[in-house]
Symmetry: C2
Subunit: 304 residues, 2 copies
């Protein structure tokens, strides 16, 4: 159960970032529960507004969620040579990735496979700016409260142009989302030339995890491309989070996702969305530029 | 006095980032003192090795200092059209910026004006990898334990190709280093076409401070250029820190510091320096790319 209490400081402690943790002053605990999969807490903080905490780890906050949601959605969507028509979100129960994907006018269907219905429920109640993504009347949003890996394995081969994996860390329910069977299934479910973008931890704290992930992706996406990008976000460990972006073979050459090929995403008419606040085409290109220590570590597995 | 104790958690609390703070597990307190200017503490941490704390704010750590030191030194030095010959560091008592500047073979003199001798002393004892910058036999390092603002005001007009201001936050002894009289003095002390790079806080936490700073710089560096860049670093608030980079008028057009014009810095022969771990020319260009919310806020004061 989350240690957060009204008027106290909550510190995010985890074996994934030993000896360090972000501390947030909690004004009020809005929700505490235990789902079939994890501890779920929603707290009001002085610095970041409302915060969603799963198994003691900060998932998103009112103040900085836009950086993560915009980047994990628009980096892959804008890199595609043709406007995507069919997308899948695995995880992402808060709705933020749905909101960002729905800014892509070409999308005809967006499916979401979130394992934990409680995450969807608390988001609809406490994070209206993210849960807004569930209510887009233009795109067909199919919500599946189910195991993401099973959903992807059951999908017909070549179904999706785009898969976004908005998962928590590789401990607990999301562990399988960092393993080869899931990536094999995603590769199969993608159309030729399709792209996948997965939450892929911090270069500063998890370089060894990311190295293994990149090597596994290079095996799965043979003939395609494997790339890594990151965004800054104060409430994730180390203040940044990265994305593994893999493209299935399909065109004449592996897709280089560093180059944006689609126009800036726009808010669909009549939607009460915040404007784009992080993503732009220059940010897209810059997100793939790695500091020397990371470039040296990941380079051997990356396509570009 | 710093609250850090052996075996306890230290949380970095400040009015500059209310309601949030990085927590570090402290294995051992190595030094605690009060200088004429501030509280000085050195602690051994589980996650980041040895950490320097001034007035309760983390200044640098063994594990991630290279990101800050490399970027604050090489962004301005590599942007210059001609190799710099004479540089000044204001603050930077730990020696890390000296270490990085000494990788520029063209430099004939590097001056440093650090107000607090205790910072220099504890660095020489507890941070040998940074304090190594004090012992370069090839460049003439003049160490002045003195008030940086007075030192710059007393310098002859047109003395420096490059000034790096490695200051703490704009509360306490470093407050004057964010104000116009200091920037006027730096402008005067620079050669025509010379460049200054100052520690300029976090886009996520201090956008209003940075906006005011940029507007003031645009006033001081008329005919020259004002630009903003940032680097990622886990132990600074929000996980990043930025730099205000200003160029004095001198050439035919204001210098665009986004473009690196000098070769990659190299370690001088015989020096026991760590290799470059963050900076490369692609990172240089990418560091100036701002997320949309920051671009919109700072754009009116920036030259490019």
């Amino acid at each position: 159960m989350s240690a957060a209490k009204d008027g106290s400081w909550f510190t995010e402690i985890s074996s994934l970032w030993p000896g360090t943790g972000l501390a947030l002053k909690v004004d009020e605990v809005l929700f505490k529960g235990r789902s079939d999969f994890q501890d779920v807490a929603v707290v009001k903080t002085q610095a970041f507004g409302t915060v969603l905490i799963l198994d003691g780890a900060i998932q998103c906050t009112d103040r900085d969620e836009f950086s993560y949601q915009e980047m994990i959605a628009h980096l892959p969507a804008c890199a595609l040579p043709a406007p995507p028509k069919k997308a899948l979100v695995v995880g992402g129960g808060d709705g933020g990735v749905l909101r960002e994907l729905s800014r892509h006018a070409s999308l005809e269907e967006i499916h979401i496979a979130e394992i934990d219905g409680m995450v969807i429920d608390v988001s609809k109640k406490h994070f209206p700016q993210m849960a807004a993504g569930y209510t887009d009347p233009r795109v067909k949003v199919l919500v599946h409260v189910c195991d993401g890996i099973k959903f992807v394995q059951d999908a017909a081969e070549g179904t999706y142009d785009l898969i976004v994996v908005d998962s928590s860390d590789p401990v607990g329910p999301a562990e399988v989302l960092f393993q080869k069977p899931f990536f094999d299934a995603m590769h199969r479910a993608l159309k030729p030339g399709g792209i996948v973008c997965t939450q892929a931890e911090s270069l500063w704290y998890h370089l060894e995890i990311i190295k293994s992930l990149a090597a596994m992706c290079a095996e799965v996406f043979q003939g395609g491309a494997v790339q890594y990008a990151f965004t800054t976000i104060p409430t994730y460990p180390s203040g940044q989070i990265g994305f593994m972006i893999c493209t299935k073979a399909g065109g004449s050459a592996p897709l280089d996702a560093r180059e944006p090929r689609q126009p800036l995403p726009v808010t669909p008419e009549g939607r009460d969305y915040p404007p784009l606040r992080y993503y732009n085409h220059d940010v897209h290109r810059a997100a793939f530029v790695l500091p020397t220590f990371a470039k040296e570590a990941l380079g051997p597995s990356l396509t570009y």
